[in-house]
């Protein structure tokens, strides 16, 4: 019985697997100082940024790709076979959305991105990143009114260079890790946000990333600065077309919260996961880190990770300011042959800093799901508190769930709690639901959503609905 559903649905397509036919401005695959100079020149960057990129590249050359500690395995990546820049061709700077290539518009419409003016009511401002360049930014005027800077990264370099220069690499240094160094050398575009003191951003800011060109790596860079007493909620969604080869996505996200500021960062990641045999799919090697620099500042990460062949990411919080708060809410789902090694780091430095970690891992089919989390309470972090909860849900007999919690407590006044559970959707649960009239798919969705509820309720409303749907789609046919 379950097998029929499984097979039918395992054949169902990745719904987002269309490609868009637009003329691309690409450079030949390969990586060298010349390639970096070309990227920098195409973007008309200042010298200091080119030097910064080259510095990162030289660091990267000395580093080793990390595959000894994460519980993921994949064939070696040929970094010379990757194309480091692909942009839709355009003749001049776009003045309004109407000038956008209709093909790109249609792609975004398929993705359901609210680019249209009519969507203003939805209160979402979108900075859409199509491969390497931000093609359109909406709601600029409304945001400008509040003094909020929300720009494609390359534009921010031109318009607010001093802010970029001050904070770029201040949370994730160039040499932080192999993929962060690579990103620092070749990053193409991304989003930049600055919220001035005391301003509560009146809408959710949203970026939609999509990888279109083949053999293209996507290396976007996001930098968000919340000045004193400000608040911003940022949403990030990701999709990619179906391709047989693997594509690399190595992003860096840096968040900075000053005194009494709050940043809420939500991700729904649905990169192409590869097919049932493990062919194709995105390698999602991402470094995300937030710095609670100010007193009473707060950074909250919420992620729903359903896509990618391999996910390797640990959105983290450096809790420097006294009484600052870090949160990490995560749902990671691995089906097909997906592998995820994800979690967080909470580094408590300031006094009375608090952190909460809620991680829900779901493994189905031949998926492998690992939670890896570090809670470090440094010497001076008097009265620091952490609560961690890591739950795993297994669907079927061929998947795996693993939990690797690391605790380093150097202050005797700290309080650290850790809870972990592993459960399995059994035939008995499914039969019980069916005996009450529910279909198998409804039953699985219900059980999974029940399992993830604690995390989903942290997402903004529209995103929560989309995430629920995604979980359902990703699990279709997962039960055998």
């Amino acid at each position: 019985m379950a097998n029929e559903t499984l097979e039918r649905l395992a054949r169902s397509d990745y719904e987002w697997g269309f490609t868009t036919d637009v003329e691309q401005d690409v450079i030949e695959p390969g990586l060298s100082e010349d390639v970096i100079r070309t990227i920098s020149a195409k973007k008309g960057e200042p010298d200091w940024l080119l030097e910064w990129r080259l510095g990162a590249y030289r660091r990267w050359l000395t580093m080793e790709e990390p595959h000894h500690w994460a519980r993921v395995s994949y064939p070696p990546i040929d970094y010379q076979a990757i194309r480091y820049y692909a942009a839709p061709k355009r003749k001049k700077q776009l003045e309004s959305l109407d000038e956008l290539d209709p093909e790109i518009r249609r792609t975004y419409e398929k993705l359901g991105i609210p680019l249209d003016e009519q969507k203003r009511l939805a209160g979402v401002a979108v900075d859409a990143v199509f491969d390497s360049v931000s093609v359109a930014t909406t709601f600029k005027k409304e945001l400008e009114k509040h003094g909020i800077v929300f720009l494609p990264f390359s534009e921010a370099v031109q318009k607010v260079p001093e802010l970029v220069r001050q904070y770029l690499g201040s949370v994730v240094p160039q040499g932080d890790n192999f993929f962060a160094a690579l990103n620092s050398a070749v990053f193409s575009d991304g989003s930049f946000v600055y919220v001035p003191p005391g301003v509560r951003c009146p809408m959710e800011l949203s970026t939609y990333f999509r990888i279109n060109a083949s053999e293209t790596g996507q290396f976007e860079r996001t930098l968000i600065i919340a000045d004193r007493g400000s608040y911003v909620s940022y949403l990030e969604g990701c999709t990619a077309p179906m391709r047989d080869e693997n594509q690399l996505h190595a992003a860096v996200v840096e968040l900075i919260a000053l005194d009494d500021a709050e940043i809420k960062y939500s991700t729904v990641q649905n990169w192409y996961p590869g097919d049932a045999e493990g062919r194709g799919g995105i390698f999602n090697f991402v470094t995300k880190r937030g710095k609670c620099l100010g007193r009473r500042s707060k950074i909250s990460w919420t992620q729903v990770e359903t896509g990618s062949a391999i996910t390797w990411k640990y959105p983290s919080c450096l809790l420097l300011g006294d009484d600052s708060v870090g949160e990490f809410y995560s749902v990671a789902l691995t089906a097909r042959r997906q592998q995820a090694d994800t979690g967080t780091k909470m580094i408590h430095v300031g006094k009375r800093t608090r952190s909460t970690i809620v991680s829900k891992g779901i493994s189905a089919a031949q998926g492998q799901n690992s939670y890896r989390g570090l809670v470090r309470i440094q010497k001076g972090a008097d009265g620091a508190r952490n609560y961690s909860q890591c739950d795993s849900l297994l669907i079927g007999n061929e998947c795996g769930a693993h939990t690797f919690p690391y605790l380093e407590v150097q202050n005797p006044t700290a309080r650290v709690e850790h809870e972990a559970t592993t459960s399995k959707i059994g035939e008995d649960q499914l039969f019980y639901c069916k005996q009450r009239g529910l279909s198998e798919e409804d039953a699985i969705n219900m059980i999974v959503n029940g399992f993830c509820k604690r995390v989903l309720k942290e997402l903004p409303m529209e995103f929560a609905v989309e995430a629920q749907k995604l979980l359902g789609v990703s699990l279709e046919g997962a039960v055998g």
Binding site: Q429, Y432, K434, Q435, G437, G450, C452
Partner: protein
């Protein structure tokens, strides 16, 4: 004479290649409450699970007709929507899924199948409150996860509550009395009795006649060695309680 609610003919069932039911015949009329009693390992729970369509039970011969239709050809969820209800001996926990939400999904799945409109939140709430009184269930239990942290008695009450909400035609109660103290037994039996109806049939599966003091059956069937070896009126239950199962098994050569 109308079509029986349930008609089982020469049913043979194996579990993991071991024959458990070996030629079981049973007829349950519309509105009839019949008890199926038998010693441990006689196949009582197998009978309940086969009727509900639980995976892992292989029917090797015979047929089961529900209102004259082939029940075995229906998927478990279709059987449920058609009006077959199993009160589980060991109800399963579904953590994180609110009991109320679960009940509403179930009621609406069954209603949709019957061509009725879905109940909205308010309508459902008043319906569930009314039915909860039937089994004296505290409201607090409706807010918890499905059977999550329920005591044995609370789980059984929850089963009867679901039965009341889904308004099935055929109720199969699998050892509903097991693990209940006398007060809980009285409450659960009261709920079951309130659901007796000329249009509803019940198959009450039990090892002891204790439950049958409260839910008085129209007929009693004795299951031994995978077959019905004796049938009679309610007095048969008392006789079994006094004399044990040995004599029926001997008489039947089972």
């Amino acid at each position: 004479m109308s079509v029986p609610m349930l008609e089982i003919r020469d049913l043979h069932v194996s579990v993991a290649d071991q024959p458990v039911l070996k030629g079981l015949d049973l007829v349950l009329e519309r509105g009839e409450v019949a008890a199926v009693m038998g010693p441990n390992g006689s196949g009582k729970s197998t009978l309940a699970n086969v009727i509900a369509g639980k995976p892992g039970y292989e029917v090797t011969r015979g047929e089961v007709l529900f209102e004259g239709r082939d029940l075995l050809a229906m998927a478990p969820e279709v059987r449920a929507r058609e009006g077959v209800f199993l009160a589980f001996q060991y109800p399963v926990e579904v953590p994180g899924v609110g009991n109320m939400y679960f009940l509403k999904q179930a009621v609406n799945a069954v209603r949709a199948h019957r061509g009725l409109e879905e109940l909205d939140a308010m309508e459902f709430l008043s319906l569930v409150r009314e039915k909860m009184k039937l089994v004296e269930m505290p409201e607090e239990l409706a807010k918890r996860g499905v059977n999550e942290g329920f005591s044995g008695g609370e789980k059984k009450r929850n089963e009867v509550l679901q039965m009341a909400l889904l308004e099935p035609k055929l109720c199969v109660l699998d050892e509903t009395d097991s693990g209940l103290d006398i007060d809980a037994l009285r409450v659960v039996a009261g709920g079951v009795n309130a659901l007796r109806d000329p249009a509803r049939s019940m198959l009450v599966i039990t090892h002891y006649q204790r439950l049958l003091e409260y839910v008085v059956p129209d007929r009693v069937h004795v299951l031994a060695g995978g077959r019905i070896v004796r049938s009679g009126g309610k007095e048969l239950a008392r006789e079994l309680e006094e004399r044990g199962y040995g004599w029926v098994q001997q008489e039947a050569g089972a």
